[in-house]
Protein backbone atom coordinates (compact mmCIF):
# COMPACT_ATOMS: atom_id res chain seq x y z
CA UNK A 1 0.00 0.00 0.00
CA UNK A 2 1.19 3.49 -0.75
CA UNK A 3 2.65 5.43 2.19
CA UNK A 4 0.54 8.46 1.48
CA UNK A 5 -2.75 6.51 1.70
CA UNK A 6 -3.50 4.28 4.68
CA UNK A 7 -6.44 1.93 5.13
CA UNK A 8 -7.18 1.19 8.77
CA UNK A 9 -9.22 -1.87 9.62
CA UNK A 10 -11.74 -1.56 12.45
CA UNK A 11 -13.14 -5.07 12.34
CA UNK A 12 -12.25 -8.45 10.97
CA UNK A 13 -12.45 -8.31 7.20
CA UNK A 14 -13.80 -11.40 5.42
CA UNK A 15 -11.69 -12.92 2.69
CA UNK A 16 -13.02 -14.10 -0.66
CA UNK A 17 -15.78 -11.48 -0.78
CA UNK A 18 -16.95 -9.44 -3.77
CA UNK A 19 -15.71 -5.86 -3.51
CA UNK A 20 -17.99 -3.09 -4.75
CA UNK A 21 -17.22 0.59 -5.37
CA UNK A 22 -19.69 3.48 -5.14
CA UNK A 23 -17.93 6.75 -5.87
CA UNK A 24 -19.30 10.19 -6.82
CA UNK A 25 -19.70 10.37 -10.58
CA UNK A 26 -22.38 11.29 -13.14
CA UNK A 27 -25.89 11.14 -11.67
CA UNK A 28 -24.31 10.04 -8.36
CA UNK A 29 -25.40 6.55 -9.43
CA UNK A 30 -22.65 4.73 -7.51
CA UNK A 31 -23.07 6.69 -4.28
CA UNK A 32 -26.87 6.35 -4.26
CA UNK A 33 -26.62 2.63 -5.04
CA UNK A 34 -23.95 2.13 -2.33
CA UNK A 35 -25.97 4.01 0.25
CA UNK A 36 -28.99 1.81 -0.53
CA UNK A 37 -26.88 -1.35 -0.28
CA UNK A 38 -25.62 -0.33 3.17
CA UNK A 39 -29.17 0.07 4.43
CA UNK A 40 -30.62 -2.98 2.67
CA UNK A 41 -28.00 -5.72 3.01
CA UNK A 42 -27.85 -7.63 6.27
CA UNK A 43 -25.07 -6.95 8.78
CA UNK A 44 -23.33 -4.27 6.74
CA UNK A 45 -20.88 -2.55 9.08
CA UNK A 46 -17.95 -0.20 8.68
CA UNK A 47 -14.95 -2.53 8.57
CA UNK A 48 -12.25 -0.11 7.45
CA UNK A 49 -11.61 3.52 6.54
CA UNK A 50 -9.12 5.52 4.54
CA UNK A 51 -6.72 7.97 6.09
CA UNK A 52 -4.65 10.19 3.85
CA UNK A 53 -3.15 13.66 3.77
CA UNK A 54 -4.06 13.72 0.10
CA UNK A 55 -7.74 14.00 1.01
CA UNK A 56 -9.21 17.46 1.61
CA UNK A 57 -9.29 18.59 5.26
CA UNK A 58 -12.74 17.14 5.73
CA UNK A 59 -14.46 14.67 8.03
CA UNK A 60 -18.04 13.45 7.95
CA UNK A 61 -19.90 13.72 11.24
CA UNK A 62 -22.41 11.00 12.07
CA UNK A 63 -24.11 11.25 15.46
CA UNK A 64 -21.47 13.76 16.53
CA UNK A 65 -18.53 11.49 15.76
CA UNK A 66 -15.91 11.93 13.04
CA UNK A 67 -15.63 9.55 10.10
CA UNK A 68 -13.40 9.44 7.07
CA UNK A 69 -15.18 10.44 3.85
CA UNK A 70 -13.92 7.19 2.29
CA UNK A 71 -15.01 4.08 4.14
CA UNK A 72 -15.35 0.37 3.51
CA UNK A 73 -18.46 -1.42 4.70
CA UNK A 74 -18.84 -5.16 4.71
CA UNK A 75 -20.58 -8.35 5.73
CA UNK A 76 -19.59 -11.98 5.07
CA UNK A 77 -20.02 -11.80 1.31
CA UNK A 78 -19.59 -8.19 0.29
CA UNK A 79 -17.11 -5.37 0.79
CA UNK A 80 -18.28 -1.94 -0.30
CA UNK A 81 -15.97 1.07 -0.70
CA UNK A 82 -17.90 4.31 -0.70
CA UNK A 83 -16.91 7.97 -0.79
CA UNK A 84 -19.11 10.71 0.63
CA UNK A 85 -17.11 13.42 -1.10
CA UNK A 86 -16.12 14.07 -4.69
CA UNK A 87 -12.54 12.96 -5.32
CA UNK A 88 -10.34 15.32 -7.29
CA UNK A 89 -8.55 14.14 -10.41
CA UNK A 90 -5.04 14.71 -9.00
CA UNK A 91 -5.45 12.19 -6.13
CA UNK A 92 -7.74 9.64 -7.72
CA UNK A 93 -4.95 7.26 -8.82
CA UNK A 94 -3.45 7.03 -5.32
CA UNK A 95 -6.88 6.50 -3.75
CA UNK A 96 -7.99 3.81 -6.20
CA UNK A 97 -4.66 1.97 -6.22
CA UNK A 98 -4.68 1.83 -2.40
CA UNK A 99 -8.23 0.43 -2.33
CA UNK A 100 -7.54 -2.13 -5.06
CA UNK A 101 -4.30 -3.31 -3.47
CA UNK A 102 -6.06 -3.58 -0.09
CA UNK A 103 -8.90 -5.57 -1.72
CA UNK A 104 -6.35 -7.88 -3.35
CA UNK A 105 -4.71 -8.47 0.05
CA UNK A 106 -8.14 -9.63 1.28
CA UNK A 107 -8.29 -12.07 -1.66
CA UNK A 108 -11.51 -10.58 -3.03
CA UNK A 109 -12.86 -12.74 -5.83
CA UNK A 110 -14.09 -9.85 -7.96
CA UNK A 111 -14.28 -6.05 -7.98
CA UNK A 112 -17.36 -4.30 -9.33
CA UNK A 113 -17.70 -0.57 -9.77
CA UNK A 114 -21.25 0.84 -9.84
CA UNK A 115 -21.65 3.97 -11.90
CA UNK A 116 -23.49 5.75 -14.69
CA UNK A 117 -23.19 6.68 -18.31
CA UNK A 118 -24.75 10.04 -19.18
CA UNK A 119 -27.38 10.21 -21.85
CA UNK A 120 -28.98 13.24 -23.50
CA UNK A 121 -32.72 13.80 -22.94
CA UNK A 122 -32.64 11.31 -20.07
CA UNK A 123 -36.04 12.57 -18.87
CA UNK A 124 -37.63 11.20 -22.06
CA UNK A 125 -36.31 7.67 -21.52
CA UNK A 126 -38.57 5.13 -19.84
CA UNK A 127 -36.34 2.07 -19.73
CA UNK A 128 -32.75 2.67 -18.78
CA UNK A 129 -30.09 0.37 -20.18
CA UNK A 130 -27.14 -0.88 -18.15
CA UNK A 131 -23.81 -1.54 -19.84
CA UNK A 132 -20.80 -3.47 -18.62
CA UNK A 133 -17.08 -3.39 -19.29
CA UNK A 134 -14.64 -5.90 -17.84
CA UNK A 135 -10.96 -6.33 -17.02
CA UNK A 136 -10.57 -9.58 -19.00
CA UNK A 137 -12.22 -11.50 -21.87
CA UNK A 138 -13.29 -14.26 -19.41
CA UNK A 139 -15.10 -11.81 -17.09
CA UNK A 140 -16.66 -10.10 -20.09
CA UNK A 141 -17.96 -13.45 -21.36
CA UNK A 142 -19.47 -14.25 -17.96
CA UNK A 143 -21.52 -11.04 -17.90
CA UNK A 144 -22.52 -11.42 -21.54
CA UNK A 145 -23.89 -14.86 -20.71
CA UNK A 146 -26.01 -13.25 -17.98
CA UNK A 147 -27.58 -10.99 -20.62
CA UNK A 148 -25.82 -7.73 -19.76
CA UNK A 149 -25.07 -5.44 -22.68
CA UNK A 150 -21.39 -4.70 -23.27
CA UNK A 151 -19.97 -1.22 -23.64
CA UNK A 152 -18.00 -2.05 -26.77
CA UNK A 153 -16.21 1.12 -27.83
CA UNK A 154 -15.62 4.47 -26.20
CA UNK A 155 -13.78 6.29 -23.46
CA UNK A 156 -14.22 5.84 -19.73
CA UNK A 157 -13.21 8.57 -17.28
CA UNK A 158 -13.07 8.43 -13.48
CA UNK A 159 -12.53 5.92 -10.66
CA UNK A 160 -14.09 3.04 -12.62
CA UNK A 161 -11.60 3.57 -15.45
CA UNK A 162 -8.65 3.31 -13.06
CA UNK A 163 -10.18 0.25 -11.38
CA UNK A 164 -10.60 -1.64 -14.66
CA UNK A 165 -7.10 -0.84 -15.87
CA UNK A 166 -5.41 -1.65 -12.56
CA UNK A 167 -7.33 -4.92 -12.16
CA UNK A 168 -6.49 -5.90 -15.75
CA UNK A 169 -2.81 -5.29 -14.97
CA UNK A 170 -2.76 -7.34 -11.77
CA UNK A 171 -5.02 -10.10 -13.09
CA UNK A 172 -7.98 -9.52 -10.76
CA UNK A 173 -11.44 -10.04 -12.29
CA UNK A 174 -13.23 -6.69 -12.39
CA UNK A 175 -16.38 -5.22 -13.84
CA UNK A 176 -17.86 -1.80 -14.27
CA UNK A 177 -21.62 -1.52 -14.45
CA UNK A 178 -22.90 1.72 -15.97
CA UNK A 179 -26.58 2.68 -15.99
CA UNK A 180 -27.84 5.34 -18.39
CA UNK A 181 -28.37 8.45 -16.29
CA UNK A 182 -28.46 12.25 -16.03
CA UNK A 183 -25.06 13.90 -16.25
CA UNK A 184 -25.66 16.66 -13.73
CA UNK A 185 -28.63 15.53 -11.66
CA UNK A 186 -28.82 12.80 -8.99
CA UNK A 187 -30.51 9.78 -10.55
CA UNK A 188 -32.03 7.26 -8.09
CA UNK A 189 -33.79 5.39 -10.94
CA UNK A 190 -30.44 4.72 -12.60
CA UNK A 191 -29.06 3.54 -9.24
CA UNK A 192 -31.99 1.09 -8.99
CA UNK A 193 -31.24 -0.24 -12.49
CA UNK A 194 -27.56 -0.77 -11.76
CA UNK A 195 -28.49 -2.70 -8.59
CA UNK A 196 -30.88 -4.94 -10.55
CA UNK A 197 -28.01 -5.86 -12.89
CA UNK A 198 -25.73 -6.43 -9.91
CA UNK A 199 -28.26 -8.96 -8.60
CA UNK A 200 -28.33 -10.65 -12.00
CA UNK A 201 -24.54 -10.99 -12.11
CA UNK A 202 -23.65 -11.76 -8.50
CA UNK A 203 -26.84 -13.07 -6.92
CA UNK A 204 -26.65 -10.33 -4.23
CA UNK A 205 -30.37 -9.73 -3.64
CA UNK A 206 -31.39 -6.10 -3.18
CA UNK A 207 -34.94 -4.78 -3.00
CA UNK A 208 -34.96 -1.42 -4.83
CA UNK A 209 -38.57 -0.45 -4.07
CA UNK A 210 -37.56 1.80 -1.13
CA UNK A 211 -34.94 3.46 -3.29
CA UNK A 212 -37.53 4.32 -5.95
CA UNK A 213 -40.07 5.49 -3.36
CA UNK A 214 -37.54 7.84 -1.80
CA UNK A 215 -36.41 9.16 -5.20
CA UNK A 216 -37.50 12.77 -4.67
CA UNK A 217 -36.01 12.95 -1.19
CA UNK A 218 -32.69 11.59 -2.50
CA UNK A 219 -32.66 14.13 -5.35
CA UNK A 220 -33.18 17.00 -2.94
CA UNK A 221 -30.67 15.69 -0.42
CA UNK A 222 -27.96 14.95 -2.97
CA UNK A 223 -27.88 18.44 -4.58
CA UNK A 224 -24.78 19.68 -2.77
CA UNK A 225 -22.73 16.51 -3.36
CA UNK A 226 -23.84 16.58 -7.01
CA UNK A 227 -22.70 20.19 -7.35
CA UNK A 228 -19.25 19.44 -5.92
CA UNK A 229 -19.02 16.33 -8.09
CA UNK A 230 -19.85 18.38 -11.21
CA UNK A 231 -16.85 20.63 -10.49
CA UNK A 232 -14.52 17.63 -10.19
CA UNK A 233 -15.98 15.91 -13.25
CA UNK A 234 -15.35 19.01 -15.27
CA UNK A 235 -11.67 19.09 -14.14
CA UNK A 236 -11.44 15.38 -15.00
CA UNK A 237 -12.76 16.12 -18.54
CA UNK A 238 -15.62 13.70 -18.01
CA UNK A 239 -17.29 14.84 -21.23
CA UNK A 240 -14.58 12.87 -23.07
CA UNK A 241 -16.93 9.92 -22.60
CA UNK A 242 -19.07 11.48 -25.34
CA UNK A 243 -16.09 11.47 -27.76
CA UNK A 244 -15.93 9.09 -30.68
CA UNK A 245 -12.70 7.12 -30.33
CA UNK A 246 -10.08 6.76 -33.05
CA UNK A 247 -8.45 3.37 -32.69
CA UNK A 248 -5.06 2.84 -34.20
CA UNK A 249 -5.44 -0.93 -34.64
Amino acid sequence: MSEEVKITEKKEVPSGAIMLFGFPDVGLVGVIAASHLISELENMEEVAYMDSKLLPPLIVLHEGLPHSPIRIFGNHDVLLAVSETAISADIIYSIMYALIDWGKSKTVKMMISLSGIPIQDRQDIQELKVFAAASSPETLKTVQEKGVEILREGYMVGPQAIMLQRCANIGLPALTLLAQCFFNYPDPEAAAEVLKELTKITGIKVDVSQLLEKGEEIRLRARDVMKRTQQELSKMKKTREYDIPLYVS
Partner: protein, 147 residues
Protein backbone atom coordinates in the same frame (compact mmCIF):
# COMPACT_ATOMS: atom_id res chain seq x y z
CA UNK B 1 -25.40 35.56 -48.65
CA UNK B 2 -26.00 37.16 -45.27
CA UNK B 3 -26.15 40.95 -45.03
CA UNK B 4 -24.01 42.47 -42.31
CA UNK B 5 -25.69 45.12 -40.19
CA UNK B 6 -23.47 48.09 -39.39
CA UNK B 7 -22.73 48.48 -35.69
CA UNK B 8 -22.23 51.86 -34.12
CA UNK B 9 -19.49 52.63 -31.59
CA UNK B 10 -22.23 52.71 -28.91
CA UNK B 11 -23.31 49.16 -29.82
CA UNK B 12 -19.71 48.02 -29.47
CA UNK B 13 -19.26 49.76 -26.08
CA UNK B 14 -22.59 48.34 -24.87
CA UNK B 15 -21.54 44.85 -25.91
CA UNK B 16 -18.16 45.24 -24.23
CA UNK B 17 -19.76 46.20 -20.91
CA UNK B 18 -22.35 43.45 -21.22
CA UNK B 19 -19.57 40.94 -21.78
CA UNK B 20 -17.69 42.30 -18.79
CA UNK B 21 -20.82 42.03 -16.65
CA UNK B 22 -21.35 38.45 -17.76
CA UNK B 23 -17.76 37.55 -16.96
CA UNK B 24 -18.07 39.16 -13.51
CA UNK B 25 -21.25 37.15 -12.87
CA UNK B 26 -19.57 33.91 -13.88
CA UNK B 27 -16.57 34.77 -11.72
CA UNK B 28 -18.82 35.51 -8.75
CA UNK B 29 -20.75 32.27 -9.24
CA UNK B 30 -17.66 30.10 -9.47
CA UNK B 31 -15.50 31.67 -6.80
CA UNK B 32 -17.81 32.85 -4.08
CA UNK B 33 -19.04 29.86 -2.15
CA UNK B 34 -22.49 30.13 -0.69
CA UNK B 35 -25.00 27.65 0.71
CA UNK B 36 -27.58 26.19 -1.63
CA UNK B 37 -30.36 27.32 0.69
CA UNK B 38 -31.54 30.63 2.09
CA UNK B 39 -33.09 30.74 5.56
CA UNK B 40 -34.39 34.30 5.13
CA UNK B 41 -36.33 33.61 1.96
CA UNK B 42 -37.08 29.96 2.94
CA UNK B 43 -35.85 28.79 -0.46
CA UNK B 44 -33.61 26.03 -1.74
CA UNK B 45 -31.54 26.48 -4.89
CA UNK B 46 -32.17 23.68 -7.39
CA UNK B 47 -29.54 22.15 -9.69
CA UNK B 48 -29.67 23.53 -13.22
CA UNK B 49 -27.96 23.21 -16.56
CA UNK B 50 -27.81 25.15 -19.84
CA UNK B 51 -27.23 23.77 -23.30
CA UNK B 52 -26.75 25.98 -26.36
CA UNK B 53 -27.60 24.41 -29.72
CA UNK B 54 -27.41 26.17 -33.13
CA UNK B 55 -31.15 26.91 -32.99
CA UNK B 56 -32.09 27.15 -29.33
CA UNK B 57 -30.99 27.38 -25.72
CA UNK B 58 -32.28 24.63 -23.44
CA UNK B 59 -32.32 25.32 -19.72
CA UNK B 60 -33.09 22.35 -17.47
CA UNK B 61 -33.79 22.50 -13.75
CA UNK B 62 -34.13 19.57 -11.33
CA UNK B 63 -37.28 20.25 -9.29
CA UNK B 64 -37.99 17.38 -6.89
CA UNK B 65 -41.27 17.44 -4.92
CA UNK B 66 -42.91 19.81 -7.43
CA UNK B 67 -45.66 19.44 -10.00
CA UNK B 68 -46.29 21.22 -13.28
CA UNK B 69 -48.95 23.57 -11.89
CA UNK B 70 -46.65 24.62 -9.03
CA UNK B 71 -43.89 26.00 -11.27
CA UNK B 72 -43.40 29.56 -12.46
CA UNK B 73 -40.89 30.64 -15.11
CA UNK B 74 -40.50 34.41 -15.43
CA UNK B 75 -38.13 36.32 -17.75
CA UNK B 76 -36.59 39.17 -15.70
CA UNK B 77 -34.90 40.85 -18.66
CA UNK B 78 -33.61 39.90 -22.10
CA UNK B 79 -31.22 37.26 -20.78
CA UNK B 80 -32.28 36.29 -17.25
CA UNK B 81 -34.90 33.80 -16.13
CA UNK B 82 -36.37 33.38 -12.68
CA UNK B 83 -37.60 29.89 -11.84
CA UNK B 84 -39.76 29.12 -8.84
CA UNK B 85 -41.21 25.74 -7.90
CA UNK B 86 -43.39 25.22 -4.86
CA UNK B 87 -42.80 21.84 -3.24
CA UNK B 88 -45.60 19.46 -2.26
CA UNK B 89 -44.24 19.27 1.28
CA UNK B 90 -42.26 21.39 3.67
CA UNK B 91 -38.65 20.37 4.16
CA UNK B 92 -36.92 21.03 7.46
CA UNK B 93 -33.24 20.70 8.29
CA UNK B 94 -34.37 18.09 10.84
CA UNK B 95 -35.53 15.90 7.95
CA UNK B 96 -31.87 15.50 6.95
CA UNK B 97 -30.73 14.95 10.54
CA UNK B 98 -29.27 18.48 10.72
CA UNK B 99 -29.85 20.12 14.08
CA UNK B 100 -27.34 23.00 13.99
CA UNK B 101 -29.53 25.06 11.64
CA UNK B 102 -33.20 25.84 11.96
CA UNK B 103 -35.59 26.57 9.16
CA UNK B 104 -38.12 25.13 6.80
CA UNK B 105 -38.38 25.35 3.05
CA UNK B 106 -41.22 24.92 0.64
CA UNK B 107 -39.86 26.65 -2.45
CA UNK B 108 -37.13 25.88 -4.96
CA UNK B 109 -35.88 29.10 -6.48
CA UNK B 110 -33.12 30.23 -8.83
CA UNK B 111 -32.10 32.81 -11.40
CA UNK B 112 -30.33 31.75 -14.52
CA UNK B 113 -28.56 33.79 -17.16
CA UNK B 114 -28.88 32.77 -20.79
CA UNK B 115 -25.45 33.08 -22.45
CA UNK B 116 -26.57 34.03 -26.00
CA UNK B 117 -29.37 36.28 -27.36
CA UNK B 118 -32.77 34.54 -27.39
CA UNK B 119 -36.44 35.29 -28.05
CA UNK B 120 -37.78 35.26 -24.49
CA UNK B 121 -41.34 35.73 -25.74
CA UNK B 122 -41.14 32.48 -27.74
CA UNK B 123 -40.18 30.43 -24.69
CA UNK B 124 -41.62 26.90 -24.47
CA UNK B 125 -41.73 25.02 -21.19
CA UNK B 126 -42.32 21.38 -20.33
CA UNK B 127 -41.99 19.31 -17.19
CA UNK B 128 -41.15 15.62 -17.17
CA UNK B 129 -39.91 13.27 -14.45
CA UNK B 130 -39.27 16.21 -12.14
CA UNK B 131 -37.10 18.00 -14.71
CA UNK B 132 -38.20 21.39 -16.01
CA UNK B 133 -37.15 22.04 -19.60
CA UNK B 134 -37.19 25.57 -21.00
CA UNK B 135 -36.65 25.98 -24.74
CA UNK B 136 -35.65 29.44 -25.99
CA UNK B 137 -35.18 29.98 -29.76
CA UNK B 138 -31.89 31.73 -30.51
CA UNK B 139 -31.74 35.22 -31.95
CA UNK B 140 -29.04 35.51 -34.59
CA UNK B 141 -28.41 39.26 -34.66
CA UNK B 142 -25.26 39.27 -36.77
CA UNK B 143 -23.96 37.01 -39.44
CA UNK B 144 -20.45 37.15 -40.84
CA UNK B 145 -20.50 36.90 -44.63
CA UNK B 146 -18.30 34.25 -46.24
CA UNK B 147 -16.52 35.81 -49.17
Amino acid sequence: MAIRRKRSIFDIIDEYFEGLEEWAERFRETLIERPSWNQKTCTIEPLRDIMVTPTEVIVTVDLPYTEENMIQVKPLDKDTLEITGRMKRKIRFDDFGITQYKGEFQTLHCHTRVPVPVYMEKMEVRFKKGILEIHLPRKHEYEIPIE
